[in-house]
């Protein structure tokens, strides 16, 4: 392998600088520092644009919390992001607590159940630190526990 040592590489003409070719992996040395690039695993909410310009504001478009939980047998969170716990309040009645709170209660929360019947999820209470959901059989309105319930939250973090 040969090494080229230069202080800058720039395009000769046009607006595009292309490194490598088809099938080539272009990498930075593990101990190199970089700016202007996002590396694998380096994407965090803090690094997403907070620009007030709608076209650039990536941060607003990212889900701030999501969860898949089981409400049957022994209720439990199966997978989640940004929740610390689920509180089982009773049949078909659960409170989800955020790890990082939302900035206010004016966010969007939606839910669904995985069921062959007409199960529905309602948001029954919404606050910066928690969101309470109820799961019911849609036809009768009877509170019901389901094996898989999903909740998704969009909005601004505190």
């Amino acid at each position: 392998m040969s090494t080229i040592e230069v202080n800058a590489i720039d395009k000769e003409s046009g607006s595009t600088l292309t490194l490598g070719g088809s099938g080539t992996a272009v990498t930075l040395h593990a101990s190199a520092t970089s700016s202007g690039f996002v590396t694998d695993g380096g994407v965090t909410v803090a690094k997403l644009s907070t620009s007030g310009t709608e076209a650039n504001n990536v941060k607003k478009r990212v889900a701030k919390a999501w969860v898949n939980f089981s409400g049957t047998g022994t209720p439990a969170i199966q997978e989640d992001f940004n929740f610390t716990s689920i509180t089982d309040n009773g049949t078909g009645d659960y409170t989800l607590s955020f790890t990082a709170n939302m900035s206010s209660a004016n966010y969007v929360a939606v839910g669904a159940v995985c069921a062959s019947s007409r199960g529905v999820v309602s948001i029954t209470a919404i606050a910066a630190g928690t969101v309470q959901v109820s799961t019911r059989e849609g036809h009768t309105g009877t509170a019901t526990d389901y094996g898989e319930t999903s909740v998704l939250v969009f909005g601004d973090l505190a």
Binding site: T72, G73, T74, P75, A76, I77, E79, D80, F81, F83, T84, S85, I86, T87, D88, N89, G90, T91, T95, S97, T99, D145
Partner: protein
Amino acid sequence: MRIIYPKDTGVAIVIPSPNWKGTIEELAAKDVPNGKSYKIVEDSDIPSDRTFRDAWEYQE
């Protein structure tokens, strides 16, 4: 582990996320409503038969 606390009617059961890295006591401090007494119990202390879930009661 689970955290249980009384509600106006019945009992609430706090179940930690698998991603929770703190202690169960820290979770209780965060997620149990202020002023509520609570108990920390084993998972096995909570019945898995939820047929009469809304009739469960908190006992001091």
